[in-house]
Amino acid sequence: MLTELETTLLGVMMMVIMLGMGASMTPRDFRIAFRKPKGILVGLLSQFAVMPFLGFMLAVLLGLPPALVVGLLLIACMPGGTTSNIFAYFSKGVLALSIMMTTVSTLVAVVMVPLLLSFYGGLAGVPAESSIPPGNVAQVLVVLLIPTIIGMVLRKLNPNIGATVELIGSFMGVVVILFLIVTWVPRNYQLLLDTGPSIYAATIGIGLSGMLFGYWVARGLGQDTNRSRTISLETGIQNGPLAVLVITLSFAPALQEDLLLIPVLYSLFIVLTSTAVTLWYRRNATREALARDAAKLGTT
């Protein structure tokens, strides 16, 4: 489904993305954020408790075959994607919270993703030959932590290089998705036509339901509307390219096709759903700001 060259390129691009993600903050920013960790903890909860559960429920409700279940669960368990920061910015959300959640969830993912995959994989009855070896996931994530940490240190030591790398990293996040569209879609358009509605429902549903539940979990735990919108986008937007990379590194090419279907489709469709949701959130944020201004005038 993906050629060897494409897999290598994807790996290199992921390294650059992670370097850029790390470079979005310094080690001290990280320590400061954990002095008031409530927002981040709420985010982690929706990222690693709500999303995997939603993935599992969707798999059961839609009655997907095991190979597709693995892809869906993997997407559901992934940490936040770096493009979420761009969407958080455009939705007038809390950019700092979004950046912090993406990084923290990537760090926590080393432990959480293998655990969640074995748990929900077992629950969904995924056969051993198509389940992802937990060690592999952990390995990929640990390898990606190295550029993340280098990025953080770089930002501290040389902000000029650090901030440039951050920019290149977020640019690369968009490039990866374009890369998938340009190289993968033309070769597989027949597959896209043959794909059944339940698969599209799973692909689009996981992102949208993540955003919906992410929002209400955050609201329920006392976050304000603006922070809840940020957590919502962060929850729904997963690191799709990372899931693609994990699969290509874990399975022989012949086995990859079905496993990759949902992660690849997710990476394509999440751009569209996030854009729509971002526009809607942006309108709400503007309306709330106007209402606050009106209230201000009323009090004087």
């Binding site: 001290r28 008031k36 501290k156 000029n160 920019l167 201000k296 009090t299 004087t300």
Partner: protein, 577 residues
Amino acid sequence: MVKDSGNKPWFAAYGNEIPTRLPDPAHRSLAALIARTCEKHATSRAFTCVVPNGMNGTLTFGQVGEMSDAFAAYLRHHCGVGPGARVAVQLPNGLAYPVVAFGVFKSGGVLVNTNPLYTRPEMIHQFNDSGAEVLVISDMFADKLADVVPRTGIRHVVLAGIPEFFPRIPETVVRGVQKLWTRSLPPIPKLDVPVQRIRQVLKIGRGLPRVTDRDAIGPDDLALLQYTGGTTGVAKGAMLTHGNILANLEQVKAMGGRHMTGQDCVLTALPLYHIFAFTANLMTFFDLGARNILVPSPRPVQNIQRALENYPVTWVTGVNTLFNGLMNEEWFAAYPPKHLKAAIAGGTALHGAVAERWQEVTGTRVAEGYGLTETAPLVSFNPLDQPVRAGSIGVPVPGTDVALVDDNADPVDPGKPGELLVKGPQVMRGYWNRPDETAKTLQNGWVFTGDVAVMDADGFLTIVDRKKDMVLVSGFNVYPNEVEDCLSLMHTVLEAAVIGVPDKGTGEAVRAYVVQNPDVEGTVTREDVIAHCRQHLAPYKVPKSVIIRDELPKSPIGKILRKDLKAEVRAEFAEKV
């Protein structure tokens, strides 16, 4: 007529460190000082500009010297700007500022500092009033040029950006972000006069002969037209000479003593177009061979984070709201700057609660000073080796005489409040083209400050308030500062302002405006505020009305503007009539 004070009780506070006689400046002009300093410290870093994401650019003393020479040559030979001609500079803090300002001095021109946030009518007024011939303006405000320039005598426009003189890649990134992301770079309009970027202009200047008649500039020549609004009327230009600034520089250095050295690194978050940062940061620390860390905009205060984290800052200059804002930031309170020696406060009254917290958080003191645009600016400062005197603006600096007088300009009894008058080598020549205003403010070399102060037996001054801001409640004087200071003790209050409003019963009544501290649980209520004031203040000083606001009107350096609140009140009462 006010007489010079015979004995100077404040000399005792000088101790062995501070000279009672001000040393003569080592140079005849700022141009000479700048040229000498750039040569002496050529390879050291003079200015580093840090944008909010941490990207930065640096100029050494040698580079600043070379570039300001080129700018001076451009002004003199290309624009035909002779000695005494006015050059308006409308730039936020950045590497272009020192290059341009120093170039103006080297060309013999007069620098007209202009607030970058001025509106079109304000710009037109200031450029016409000063007779500016050249304008150096931030490219972020180029959209104002088409309306402004044709209505003034400006013949050349030079544009400079925030990331000007950064290394190539960071410059491109910051400019790209400004253009595409924040959309803060308007297109450059077509004008009848030439509009060029500073890099082009320096290129032109480098090809021209250097300005060589620098020694002709003397201490009595005009260096700055520093516009000040005062509390009423339109802005007027205080005429500050090379001698005024040079004297004030010596006065700052005398008060700083061994605590200020060429190894220092000063945070410059206050705007350089304001006289406080201009003299204290740009000129004094530069003269010492120290490094300035320039922050283009300190609002939101988060913008300062990378500057404080990434450089070994030893001094901070600021105003009450800046110190307060910093301490309310988690990153600052959790990791206060490690190398800090002290902070200098000025511009507006420093609240006791803020000074105390600063000491707690940073382990260093805030030394409060007092100054005016008209006095270039420093008048008094707290000696750094003396224990902190809460609320005092310190003692007059060497070479300065002060007097406290009543409404008839007669000296008040010792310990009693009176209007503060100042005399010294830093006092301006008067207001540009405004003999009547000059006559009101400047009499026999004394500046009437409009501030009411008291002096204790040791010569330490305390500002009671602005004469004009005093509230008269049933014949009792209430000084808003005292009430504001009391309000700032409430932990639920972020900041406060107090003014007088017309009142049928008492003539005037005290009104407080407070802003809720967002970092504190619980909301501030009207009842809390009044109950708190009743505990600390005499009944007539307790606010009769309390208004809770999201923010207070502020000047560019962060002074809370009571006059704007008063204007609102005037409008409010006009409606009722």
